[in-house]
Symmetry: C2
Subunit: 345 residues, 2 copies
């Protein structure tokens, strides 16, 4: 066991896109676990869009990372030392260890991994992003066979879960993704019935035309995880009794808490409001951390599908803690393909 560890802290708050100077790589002493805690050597850490929100000082659903504090995040790793019942050195666990090579956590805040599955799956397809997609689709989207679903960022860990579960339940699935390569992936790997490259369309109106062709019977469920231009394109195509689970908006994260999302003119709010009424839509925002009581049901349904290969997933694994900031910024711009992970060991 080394006595030193590395961590990335928040050096300053970004304005818009995060830059190198907002992060600081620090060397620290490895902490010792207290009674009821374990010390973990992190093998893989997760990078997720929500982390951009934590860098701001704005009121949100979670407290911001303080200046000088370690960047938050989940990771999987090996228990090095345990002062907690039920955990032994060598156990592989998931926990919120932050952007760091080591972390100490209370036993109740970590979870042992299923040794039959790759450890990285606990960060993506079977972790928070996959669970987000499954919960939002099944609980709030209420999918019915024969309906049409649209999801953006469709090759990401949320979108690919949403698309595959919807497909398995008999829906027509339409992917929106950035670039021809991701569109091909969406159809070939994740089984979407159609895929649309949003970069090929200048504005919401032209994107809407393509969507209308891909969804000739209208859209029953729009799983909202990007906001902005895509939402604007989708809204007029929503069917009566349409459902929009809202789980996050990567296109808005860099704009600040109340900032302007691209391409939205002055008359959009009344249009949305009237659409909600006329189409009798159901729009539900959710933060997945409030719904972990459904996590066992998720693992029970989706775990076997992952183990058997029936449900595909894609990971984009970078190397080295020092490269995490670059990988993070790139991910916010869609530069990753699949769940963004950083390998630390």
């Amino acid at each position: 066991m080394t006595d030193q560890m590395k961590a990335i802290t928040l050096a300053s708050r970004p304005e818009g896109e995060p830059k190198d100077e907002n992060f600081k790589l620090e060397t620290r002493d490895v902490p010792k676990p207290s009674e009821g805690e374990v010390l973990v050597r992190v093998h893989y850490m997760s990078l997720d869009p929500y982390m951009r929100g934590r860098m701001d000082d704005a009121k949100s659903y979670a407290a911001p990372v303080p200046i000088g504090g370690v960047m938050e995040g989940g990771g999987v790793g090996e228990v090095l030392a345990s002062e907690a019942e039920g955990f032994e050195p060598g156990d592989m666990v998931f926990g919120m260890f932050g952007w760091a090579t080591h972390g100490v956590a209370r036993a109740k805040d970590i979870r042992k991994l299923d040794p039959r599955l790759p450890a990285t799956t606990a960060l993506g397809v079977l972790g928070m992003p996959g669970f987000t997609g499954w919960y939002g689709l099944t609980e709030l989207g209420r999918p019915k066979a024969g309906e049409t679903l649209v999801v953006a960022a469709a090759t990401g860990p949320v979108g690919s879960m949403v698309g595959q579960i919807a497909k398995a339940r008999g829906l027509r699935t339409v992917a929106i993704a950035g670039g021809a390569e991701k569109c091909a992936l969406a159809q070939d790997k994740f089984g979407f019935d159609a895929a649309i490259d949003h970069r090929a369309f200048e504005d919401a109106r032209s994107l809407r035309k393509a969507l209308a062709e891909a969804a000739p019977d209208g859209i029953d469920i729009y799983f909202e995880n990007v906001g902005g231009k895509v939402f604007e394109a989708v809204l007029p195509l929503m069917n009566t009794f349409g459902r929009i689970p809202v789980c996050g908006m990567i296109s808005g994260y860099n704009a600040g808490a109340l900032g302007g999302v691209e391409g939205q003119g002055p008359d959009r709010l009344p249009m949305l409001w009237r659409s909600i009424l006329v189409k009798q839509m159901s729009i539900n925002g959710f933060i997945i951390s409030n719904h972990f009581d459904h996590y066992p049901a998720f693992l029970k349904e989706v775990g076997p599908m992952v183990a058997s290969g029936e449900l595909a997933y894609l990971e984009d694994i970078g190397e080295g803690l020092e490269n995490a900031p670059d990988a993070f910024v790139s991910m916010l711009k869609g530069g990753n393909t699949g769940k963004q992970i950083v390998k630390l060991v």
Copy 2:
């Protein structure tokens, strides 16, 4: 039985506020009921905000009234002749007879009135408006004791139902109404804990201040029936897990289907979208005509409350079919106090 009847037809489509020239008073022969139908002499007809939408040619949740067609609407009256089993001359019934002194309807489209209650209650407190308030609040608002509810047009037939049912279930109730007189009514007659005169505030920001004082623990349910400035004032005060049933927007009806609602700047949609996510809100549009399967449950709960006087209601009864257009336009501007009805007999 007279052989002539009167009806008001749609002479032309209004732009903005309806004018006299958009309506035409016509004299016609009284129709005869066919097999399975009844002929009804209408005693009271209902005027409701949704009728403004039917005057437009825009795609909406119901077909527009055609030019030359009788204006749509519900009414209560006496059966003059019956070709339908179960109905006899003298029966008092509710049906969609339009803006007219007489109407023919199929037996399955009308409903006998409870003779123990005034016939007009079938148009307001126990009719479509009251049912709208009850359904939206109880099914979509999911009220819990100790929470805070806000509703606008609070002395109207929808708002006064919402406020009283919420109060009966242990919520703090905040009324928004137009003018000091209606505010006093809201508190004295309908038992609201607080009442705010929206006319006393120039913009959403100042209205929000007053709301924040009246709702010191934030707002859990905003029953949306007006839109515009009130919604803008309410949004930042919504609590986490807040619910917004959306049943109609009188402030937008005159602006056309996709028109601009007053006081809404360019950055509102992203703010709304982000609020939905961060506050994990549930927003549900509904058209009450799709939920009549709940009507018996409504009558069972609220009927006795009306009969006993436990639940108050207010009616604004005009006289004469020829005065219906003026009463209608006045109602759209909030000139009525209580459910707007026109007495025809």
